[in-house]
Amino acid sequence: MSVWMGMPAFPDAARKALADSQLRANLRAATGTIRAKRAAVVAERADWPELRAAGRAIKDRALRDLDNHLSLLAERVTAAGGVVHWARDAAEANRTVVGLVRAAGAAEVVKVKSMATQEIELNEALAAAGIAAYETDLAELIVQLGHDRPSHILVPAIHRNRTQIRDLFRRTMPEAPPDLTDDPEALAAAAREHLRRKFLAARVAVSGANFAVAETGALVVVESEGNGRMCLTLPEVLISVVGIEKVIPTWTDLEVMLQLLPRSSTGERMNPYTSVWRGVRPGDGPREFHLVLLDNGRTDALADEVGRDALRCIRCSACLNVCPVYERAGGHAYGSVYPGPIGAILTPQLRGVDADPVSRTLPYASTLCGACYEVCPVLIDIPRSLVHLRAKVVDVHRGTPSAERAAMTLAAKTFASPRRFALAQRLVRFGARLLRRTRLPGPHSGWTDARDIPPPPDHTFREWWATRTDTPVVDHATRERARLDSGTGAPERDGPREDHARGAGGELGAGNDVVLGPGGAEVLARVRSALGSAREDVEVPREYAHAVEDDVDVVALFAERAADYRAVVRRVAGDGGGTAAAAAVGQALRELGAASVVVPDDLPAELLSQVDGVVLRDRGDLTVDALDRVDAVLTGCAVAVAETGTIVLDAGTGQGRRALSLVPDAHVCVVRAGQVVGTVPEAVAATAGADVLTWVSGPSATSDIELHRVEGVHGPRTLVIVLVD
């Protein structure tokens, strides 16, 4: 992976950032906002510890048997009409993507925010091949237009405030009105205008994925603005670059991840949009789907018995938002696309701890305060990994003399003997008296530049203790130590473990050479070698809530939670004939001022009886431009989730293809009370086996400007839910 060219070691980069008071103010405000939002939605879940335990186990289960899960994923994606490619490193991934874009005859691509493609510097590789890449996530757009670098995983432009963004848009966006204000709503609207044509005309899109389900071959992208849906749905060719650690074993596992990720990441019960797809679906979405599975150092991390925990990361960025070091130093100081605590353990592992000054210093870019571990949804003990990586840095340099090594060796010798220690104490006291009014020399000047040295005491504790009469002195220690010293054996790391490796082509996905190719064979061989005896069948504890409490009225809860995320909810009585529902639909469209509405061809006709305007029936023949000219879309749904206020569309009866509910600016969705389930696990179970799913929670939204939530970006800006009892 790339560490940005010429990045200085962390302490130097941090020093520069600390001097930027605007940056510090932006970061303090933004991280403070998101910390509070996360805390509120996490506190809402009494089963949060159980969800985290399950999240950890799901990722471990995938990782501890990764070759088999990857083989199965590749097999299932291929069976669903996708094409699987394997990339051993960034260069191979970039070559693959460039080749695919060229084969599609495209000169530009639209991109969904993706950490993996930033990691491999895909945009630069595409540019070198004469292909323009347009970032479509608002924050990524801000970064791209400013020729800047991302500084946060979730909110890459967190270091910019609204005024800075307004100035940037005025300078770089031809479509931006000259009187553009710094109001986040206005800025989001300008971005919508800027990207609209690109979405509608794009032939190739590039994405990453949040999860890849081995069992079904489903890919999952979690987003807010609708730019993801645009990219995943409208172009002819979709290329997804996905790290091999993104695989999760089963469909059911999504019920955990779809709760952990939004609450930890944006601090929402559910993000506005989640897209799920398997391969290609005729008449709905891209004609070609390519999955590029990326290693690029991940198998090196997998081989490390402690460091491999970092591969559990689901890129929520909760650790960044609570990190006091990140808050002061900012994301750029971390010198890579992965900033903050997770970056401090991921970057050195993907690169090698001794690869460059950044990787060498990142493990030390922490006070080990543990705030990151406290919020991590998959329980990555980041401080433990940091200390482990520090040992690796030290061990690489054993044999090379340094002032620190000399001091540590001397200290170790001193501490080995109480006599030498007492002598050293006297020297310290003497030195402290001498230097009390001065500044410390050399590497210790960092202390005295801003901090006084404490006045040395007249006596050490042990000197004081010796002055007390009748002091009991414990001397059994000598005897005990002698006994221990005699029993020292050779250092023993991991004991031999029972070998239950399943080897190549195990029970899951039988070795499929067509799917693998040379790249895949090598990646899987690396995985097997990395796992060695660490292969394990991990049990997933599922003690979290699967249903709401018996006394909860799920329909009322759904109405309340959907409204929380700014959906307009109209609740009407069910009257058998559907007259009340039709009246509510007609009224909703009138209130929206919709002169035209598009509906799926199989939408029940009675719902349209009160519609005044033009009704277009989609038989898959309407162009994207035609959809863009329609004022509204009317659909049903497959299931609705009370707890999160979410509607789920599976492209089944009365829902139409995915583009239908995406392109028009207003979406009216009819939800029947019987379709409402209580929880995310119930909804995941109810939609098992679907080829495509769109989870919608409120209108499209962004929090990319100062983490201020703006409703309405690329997806429909209005969502009306007609809830029929």
């Binding site: 130093a329 870019a365 006070t367 543990g370 040992a391 801003a450 414990v474």
Partner: protein, 243 residues
Amino acid sequence: MRVGLFVTCLIDTLFPGAARGVVRVLERLGHEVVFPLAQTCCGQLHFNTGYQRECVPLARKFAADFAGLDHVVSPSASCVAMVREFHPVVAALGGGDLPRAVTATVPRVREFTEFLVDVLGVTDVGAVFPHRVTYHPTCHGLRLLGLGDRPTALLRSVRGLTLLDLPDAEQCCGFGGTFALKNADTSVAMGADKARAVVATGAEVLVAVDSSCLMHVGGLLSRQRSGVRVMHLAEVLASEEAR
């Protein structure tokens, strides 16, 4: 009760008042304090800086120095965390008899407030300290040991003491061992924010259960001529200062 004192190298050398406070409080409560003279350092400095191999002899020495004591008490949350959380890791590295020795000793090691509240079951230790105090929960005490409200429960029972809430108390002070030197600028920036929060409370004294963090924040408060003193919790609990 016979209680072994694990003083820690830093407190022994630079902040003996904290350890004297532990002795005074425990003796006042009628317990016998023993001080194993062979003790030196738990190895936290080495471990956290990456010198794990150097910790093996120190973990072995610790297990031997404190073997046979039913209760070991320390005024340093971070050193207790090192012993309890990471000596087992070091022991695995060292092998031989070490894991067994560590397993035998480690569970009997407690941080001072844990010992008072959990083992002795007291929160009122008969202290008098008529001052305005604010309390900073140090990270290892807060997150690794989970001290919770034990320290503040003890402080609230001190006669004359006014306990003031510290804003953003759970934010790290920025000490972090060698972090304070390796990333001095960031460390000072964090410490300055902590110092500002302390001063804003109007407290006369900042109290914590880690002398290392107090050395850092205290160094800043002193350089700023803030007039705020730092004290270890044990010193406050030892105080019988007249009203």
